[in-house]
């Protein structure tokens, strides 16, 4: 059963469809949440909250061919809300400002990298990291990412390719072993 049909089944009241939806979208949701939080802390809670919210708001979903993008948008908004909760003293213009605050979950001052995601966090800015993780880890297409981030499709593609090149250059220049 494809995701669109599962969304319809859930809308019809079959809560078991939520388990299937989770299986099909967990990568995308994880990538969306992690790329905003830049930390594994709270990712699990936010993912759970995302699926509960998907069920709660299933009636407002209108099939437009991008159910994954709709779910990721929910995940992104919950992650941003969480960032705001923990940074209340910082004036919030947008989430990039939140993430750049000293109390944020960033850990980009590392010199050693556990994995390539650690390295990507160091090398890429927020938007680049979001696009790269959503595409590679989250299995989202460029057009779906464009929907989630409200950016033009061509811009997303361009950012993605330049980001991968950036990571590659960093690895080569600094002779990083992963």
């Amino acid at each position: 059963m494809d995701l669109e049909s599962l969304m319809k089944t859930l809308k019809d009241g079959d809560i078991q469809a939520l388990a299937e939806i989770y299986k099909l979208t967990k990568n995308s949701v994880y990538a969306s949440v992690f790329s905003i939080l830049r930390s594994d802390n709270m990712v699990e809670d936010i993912m759970q909250e995302t699926y509960i919210k998907v069920y709660k708001n299933i009636n407002s979903y209108t099939p437009q061919g991008h159910p994954k993008a709709w779910i990721c948008r929910i995940a992104k908004n919950i992650a941003l809300d969480n960032c705001r909760k923990f940074n209340r003293t910082v004036p919030i213009e947008n989430y990039e400002n939140i993430l750049k605050s000293p109390d944020s979950f960033r850990n980009d001052d590392k010199d050693t990298y556990n994995d390539i995601i650690d390295l990507a966090q160091k090398v890429l800015n927020d938007t680049e990291l979001q696009i790269v993780l959503m595409f590679t880890v989250g299995d989202l297409s460029h057009s779906e990412i464009a929907k989630v981030l409200d950016k033009p499709h061509a811009t997303v593609r361009w950012i993605y390719h330049s980001s991968i090149k950036k990571i590659r250059k960093y690895i080569i220049d600094n002779k990083v072993e992963l």
Binding site: I15, A19, Y22, Y30, F34, Y55, S60, V132, L133
Partner: protein
């Protein structure tokens, strides 16, 4: 390291880090929530568009209505000299058109555009034409009459035509006789002035006049007046 290797490593790293949710736990928590019913969608843009269209429609209708209201033909002034003219006056007091009631008048009307001129201007043009073409002299008989729906506005226009006639004759020092048909008649549709109609009615009322109404309508004012005068003389003799 190739680009595809980086992509693969990112995917593997992401999957390794990803937490697995306990599905039963998730479903139990979800079951505690009730899906929010979708609110009926009010398409604000559509609503605004519909309201604006209604407003534009109302404004357009009222503009057209008011326009047609003020330009509706309401008063009819008649100048009978032979030629005879019907001056059609709009509700706003401006002239709508001048209708020629016979062939001689048609020649006069064809050279001028009377639309939206004042009653005075129109009467002045007509009297000037009549004078220049020899229809008015000291012996001329001018008949002025009026028909209309609204007595006040008709009287107002009629007075203007009477004053213009008097001013023109005074200006030219003419002693022509101006016959004013008093009262505002109802408009008839046979292109006959109230003054002429009154003469026709008087002749028809006579015993043994020998003329049909159709014949009388085709006669000039002078011919009608002559018939009446002859009848008067007959009666005096009797």
């Amino acid at each position: 390291m190739k680009q595809t290797d980086i992509e693969k490593k990112l995917k593997t790293a992401g999957q390794a880090r990803m937490p697995e949710l306990v599905i039963d736990d998730l479903l139990t928590k979800a079951e505690m929530e009730t899906p929010i019913k979708k609110r009926p969608e009010h398409n604000v843009k559509r609503l605004i568009f519909a309201i604006s269209m209604c407003l534009i429609f109302i404004v357009a209708i009222s503009a057209v209505t008011s326009q047609t209201y003020y330009v509706e033909a309401e008063t009819y002034l008649y100048i009978d000299v032979n030629p005879s003219f019907e001056i059609v006056v709009q509700r706003n007091g401006k002239v709508k058109e001048v209708v020629a009631l016979n062939d001689d008048a048609a020649k006069a009307v064809s050279d001028y555009k009377f639309k939206n001129t004042t009653v005075e201007e129109t009467c002045d043009i007509i009297f000037k034409y009549l004078y220049d073409n020899g229809y008015i002299d000291d012996n001329a008989e001018i008949y002025l009459s009026c028909a209309g729906k609204n007595n006040n506005r008709a009287n107002n226009a009629f007075n203007k035509s009477k004053n213009t006639a008097a001013a023109f004759l005074n200006g030219k020092n003419l002693k022509a006789n101006v016959n004013v048909c008093n009262g505002i008649s109802k408009k008839n549709n046979n292109h006959i002035s109230p003054a002429k109609q009154r003469l026709i009615d008087e002749i028809i009322a006579m015993d043994n006049n020998g003329y049909s109404e159709k014949e009388l309508k085709q006669m000039s004012m002078k011919e009608l007046k002559d018939i009446l005068e002859k009848d008067c003389q007959k009666r005096k003799r009797q």
